[in-house]
Symmetry: C2
Subunit: 452 residues, 2 copies
């Protein structure tokens, strides 16, 4: 086939492919990077008027970069892969505006480490995705791809919506409360938050440094594993196989009463079906003191946010949203001793969690209160995700349930700190048993869980 | 007194005053901020041709800012205080060059959080101080104020030299290995590294995120406490009094054999004199596994450095020094599993250290191998400081000894994580007993430990 034939023959659905299939297809010469980017760009042109997932997006530049990659030697394991980058992460060749008028048009001098690492491995940065103001609570204009009257969640709103709508196979998010897993759940895709400090944060505007974690939003776990390996400087490898059915800790948490019926169903139905599939379901109660973590996370979040935004607070206060101003004011009012007490509780619970994992390989927990709420102003409650952000554990959400309005509801899987590879393998085992349930309204359905 | 009289009357030695005395004097109208800055600027003009502590320094701008402050209402507890800022920390109105040609002339869009916080409290940023390349090992041109043929230590070279030479009363440093305490010890001043993540790192170029800690270099502990309070968003308060003589853990560490005679003397003499002063000296052996921390810190440092510098590595490799290139190459060769093992050992030892502190209020440890080595190319061995950086504990160095060449040798005091205020109070108690020993070659002597 000539290059042109290849491009033409496979253009229609390339944007729906998984990342692993894209890099495999490009490496094999089945299609070009340009064709993939063209498919993504076309999808964005068709849909983004409604979804508004992208803040900085230059189709001509992305296509030009794709053509360069098509002519170049293989750069690495992500050669030709389009990636979306949450707009709180620096890019040397695109503005980084952080969802704030303060940084309108801001051009950083360097790529964030995660961006530089995937580019060096051959990825194309397709563009910057919409974020809540400074990865906080004030919403981006993004809509949920499954229902444009509902929030996609935040703060990685654009990344989740873009991946769910097959505008891009994978995207970076950041999580300080629940900003990767919540939008992934609301949009019906996979969200992965690694162990704290696993992915290097150079070039990411901090929200709260003791919590901030770069994560990935994707449509398959293989894709997560692929990009994760690159970010760790490791050689990509297939997910480990799980040789025996795992022990799954059913962990409702102290917030269970806040779960809406669809989340109760999602978690309990998953437990039932996994039990049927041979897993050992262990009712797992977290120690009592863990109930203090919700408040502790808010203290840490508000205090660190207030300190970290000192420049913007003193120079550009009038261009900070009212909601963020209130958080900063709250943070400025927190006594240092109360902040330290919150940090100490978190450190204590991280150690205490080791004992919980002695009885379970993975925890099955609620991910969200329920379906994406109506309206675009609020991006939803982070509490179910934020518990684990503070505990620094790796977490995954899988879109295994559908709520009363036909919208996706994710479950949350939690592993011990530093055991991310095992958590991903166990998540795949669980997903194989549960199957995907998501309303592929705009995209084609696949038999189980996307293209494998 | 007219304003002019005040300026003239007190100009000569204002650069030698402690920060606490400067803010008190300005608040009382004893002298002006302009007079203080003028004294500092004059000192720099006299000395910096040899010492080379400053990279970006604009006397006219500093004086102009001082005059603004003299006319303004009191901004906060640091009103009129000149501060030096290590040039890996962003300033919106001065270049931030990080000791690297890659960032020559780079102008960040915002102040780092620590800079914004002290400015909001009324401080004047006097200028940027010389740093090793990216806060690493490749030396700045700075010389030791006590002997220009010797290193001032690194990587906060300029901050330590400037404070020691009374060019500025206090300065920011950062420590990833030993980059605050070592130069402080070599230059005969106080170095303070707080508990990890105590001072917000927004706007600091990361060296290795799991280790990087902003610290302070000063000439009195009261000054450290003053600026620390502002950085924590707290109200400045005098150091706590220590009501009874403390239990001091004499902690030689597994590296004791590497200590030169002057460090052995500094530590053992301090222990003897503190014993005489009524302290209970407890021989404290760290658990065996702590000897693995030196290697673990190198693994973490090299691995995180390699990931964090991905952009510079892939875009500007030829402008990275050979020594840093080697570190990055080493980091790129570290298996992720080995990195995780190093992180796990550190986490384990942090918890194990709690038991050590059950028997001692503060640890007395070697700070450096010995006096500042000859030559400007190498900034000295970080191992004695780096142990505690990895353990995330607060540390203080005090200049209590003089080596065979008449150069300062510091001791190191270590407290439990989050108990920084207590460590500072205990450090003052210890310093009161030991007295200062430093070669005030260029600066006046004071009776005990600087102006109180």
């Amino acid at each position: 086939m000539s290059r042109e034939e290849r491009v033409t023959a496979s253009t229609p659905h390339l944007n729906e492919l998984a990342a692993t299939d894209i890099v495999r297809g490009i490496a094999a010469g089945t299609f070009t990077c340009e064709a993939v980017v063209h498919a993504c760009v076309t999808r964005i042109a068709d849909q983004d008027g409604i979804i508004r997932a992208w803040t900085n997006f230059d189709p001509a530049a992305a296509l030009a970069e794709a053509r360069v990659l098509d002519r170049a030697a293989m750069r690495g394991p992500l050669h030709g892969l389009p990636i979306g980058v949450k707009d709180v992460i620096d890019t040397f060749d695109m503005p980084t505006e952080m969802g704030s008028p303060i940084y309108r048009g801001h051009r950083p001098p360097a790529d964030g480490a995660c961006v530089a690492l995937v580019r060096a491995a051959g990825a194309v940065i397709l563009g910057k995705t919409a974020t809540c103001e400074f990865a906080g609570v004030t919403a981006a204009p993004t809509t949920n791809p499954h229902d444009e009257t509902r929030t996609p969640g935040g703060s990685s709103s654009g990344s989740a919506a873009a991946v769910a709508d097959c505008m891009v196979p994978i995207a970076f998010g950041t999580q300080t409360g629940g900003s990767v897993l919540r939008p992934a759940s609301y949009c019906g895709v996979i969200g992965y938050k690694p162990t704290y400090n696993a992915f290097n944060r150079f070039g990411v505007k901090p929200a709260a440094e003791g919590l901030d974690t770069i994560g990935l939003i994707a449509r398959t776990l293989d894709d997560v594993a692929l990009v994760r390996a690159v970010l760790l400087g490791a050689k990509p490898a297939p997910l480990d196989r799980v040789p025996i059915a795992p022990r799954i800790g059913l962990t409702r948490t102290h917030m269970w009463a806040n779960a809406q019926p669809e989340t109760v169903d999602a978690v309990e139905d998953a437990a039932r079906r996994l039990d049927d599939a041979g897993a050992q379901i262990v009712e797992t109660a977290l120690p009592d003191e863990f109930s203090g973590l919700t408040h502790a996370r808010e203290i840490i979040n508000d205090y660190e946010r207030a300190m970290g935004m000192a420049y913007e607070w003193h120079h550009h206060r009038e261009r900070i949203s009212e909601r963020l101003r209130k958080i900063i004011e709250r943070g400025l009012g927190i006594a240092h001793a109360d902040y330290v007490a919150a940090v100490r509780l978190a450190e204590h619970c991280r150690t205490a969690l080791d004992a919980v994992f002695a009885a379970a390989d993975v925890l099955l927990a609620p991910c969200v209160r329920g379906e994406a709420p109506e309206g675009l102003h609020h991006t939803g409650d982070p509490a179910f995700q934020a518990l684990w952000t503070l505990l620094h554990t790796p977490t995954v959400t899988l879109p295994t349930a559908i709520g009363p309005h036909g919208l996706p509801v994710g479950i949350q899987l939690v592993g011990p700190r530093h055991e991310d590879a095992r958590l991903l393998a166990l998540s795949q085992w669980i997903w194989d048993k549960l199957g995907i349930r998501r309303p592929w309204r705009r995209t084609r359905r696949s038999g189980d869980h996307g293209v494998r």
